[in-house]
């Protein structure tokens, strides 16, 4: 009896997708697309670029489905490695371009779950300030912060993803957090652009 795609392991879903099962690939996408998009979005700061990277990531794992070996690590680690490589390649390519960050202002941060409006606004401002501070970090620091602090990946998996040792990851994380903390306490450096209309019509 064939197992339902929703309960299959990631490796089995990938193999089925490579054999032409679109439903299996859709389940795999829904299972991991959020993490891929969040990683690419926080790394690049642009929603459309993150969508492109996510598309290329899933295209790459489908094209090289035989390359995944479940005995060497989890599928999510493999996926993070692919999206990390594609993101770094995109950042290198667009290094001289200025991203018109649609995620830097407070209005783009939707923080729900709090009833008090001023609490919601404060959390939104904190999130926007952190996003802005992350954009100013070097990419080797930024990626470990995203993996370990935002995506709660273990140090071992993060080290495997970025291709470094665990002490190196911990060192980068420590330095990155120090820079972020300094940026968040510095009002000038973390000034979140307030939403103001460009022009007021009479």
């Amino acid at each position: 009896m064939r197992e339902a795609p929703g309960t299959q392991a990631d490796g089995a879903l990938l193999a089925a997708a490579a054999a032409g099962d679109a439903e299996a690939f859709a389940v795999l996408y829904r299972r991991h697309a959020g993490a891929v998009l969040r990683f690419a979005r926080t790394m690049t700061g642009a929603e459309d670029v993150a969508e492109d990277i996510a598309h290329d990531t899933f295209a790459a794992i489908l094209a090289a489905a035989g390359r995944f070996d479940a005995s060497r690590g989890a599928f999510s680690t493999y996926l993070y490695g692919v999206v990390r490589n594609l993101t770094r390649a995109r950042l290198r390519r667009d290094g001289r371009l200025a991203v018109l960050g649609d995620l830097d202002d407070v209005a783009a941060v939707d923080v729900r779950g709090t009833d008090e409006p001023h609490e919601r606004l404060a959390r939104a401002r904190d999130a926007a300030a952190l996003r802005l501070a992350l954009r100013r970090l070097p990419s080797r620091y930024r990626e470990v912060v995203i993996l370990c602090d935002l995506h709660e990946v273990s140090y071992e998996d993060a080290a495997r993803i970025v291709g470094a040792s665990v002490p190196a990851v911990r060192s980068r994380l420590h330095r990155a957090r120090r820079q972020l903390r300094a940026a968040l306490t510095d009002d000038v450096a973390t000034r979140v652009p307030a939403w103001t209309p460009a022009r007021c019509l009479p």
């Binding site: 679109a22 969040r38 598309h55």
Partner: protein, 201 residues
């Protein structure tokens, strides 16, 4: 406390939690799912459409190199050989003092020469790019007949009889007309018309 231990409760932790919550609540774009799932529908074995953009670019560069390198090598070889021919002395050039044509004429071997076909005079060719109206045959000119020139003085209003209507013609005014008349006496054309001065009767 190790060097990597961080203070537990600070603004950074709150900001991390806020950003994590905000990102987790973003819905997945539906159009992206359609695009991604459509990758499976690509033809089996057509890995170019499934590969990421960077892989496609590398494959395109490799394809161009696969065709371009042999072509460039062939062009370079042609250019080098042409340059060598130009730079080398003309070995086949005929010296001016020893014409080889005469030596061939002095050969004792008889040569059988076939009779040449008679030459047929041909009309000069029309240019190919001439318009169709110019390519049509022109009509033969009319046969030439002896003509006669006749000078007459007539009323200005009578010019209409010769096919020359004059506006506001005055019957009292006279004109001298030189008529070209054929053998049958019919006018063929007008050569000259001149108004006669009023004082002339």
């Amino acid at each position: 406390m190790t060097p990597y231990d961080e203070p537990a409760d600070d603004r950074l932790s709150h900001a991390m939690e806020a950003l994590r919550t905000a990102d987790l609540q973003r819905p997945l774009p539906r159009h992206l799912e359609r695009r991604v799932v459509a990758l499976v529908g690509a033809l089996p074995g057509d890995a170019r459409d499934r590969a990421p953009a960077s892989t496609r670019r590398r494959a395109a560069v490799a394809r161009r190199l696969a065709w371009g390198l042999p072509a460039a090598a062939a062009l370079a070889a042609i250019a080098v050989s042409a340059g060598w021919r130009v730079a080398a002395p003309a070995r086949d050039a005929v010296p001016s003092m020893a014409p080889p044509v005469q030596a061939r004429l002095e050969s004792p071997t008889p040569v059988l020469v076939e009779a040449a076909a008679p030459v047929v005079a041909r009309a000069p060719r029309r240019p190919r790019d001439a318009p169709a109206s110019q390519r049509q045959e022109r009509p033969a000119p009319p046969p030439v007949e002896p003509l006669q020139l006749v000078r007459v003085r007539m009323s200005q209003s009578d010019l209409v009889l010769l096919g020359v209507p004059v506006a506001d013609a005055d019957p009292s005014r006279r004109v001298d007309v030189e008529l070209v008349v054929g053998l049958d006496g019919a006018p063929v054309g007008l050569r000259r018309i001149q108004l006669v001065a009023p004082s002339v009767p």
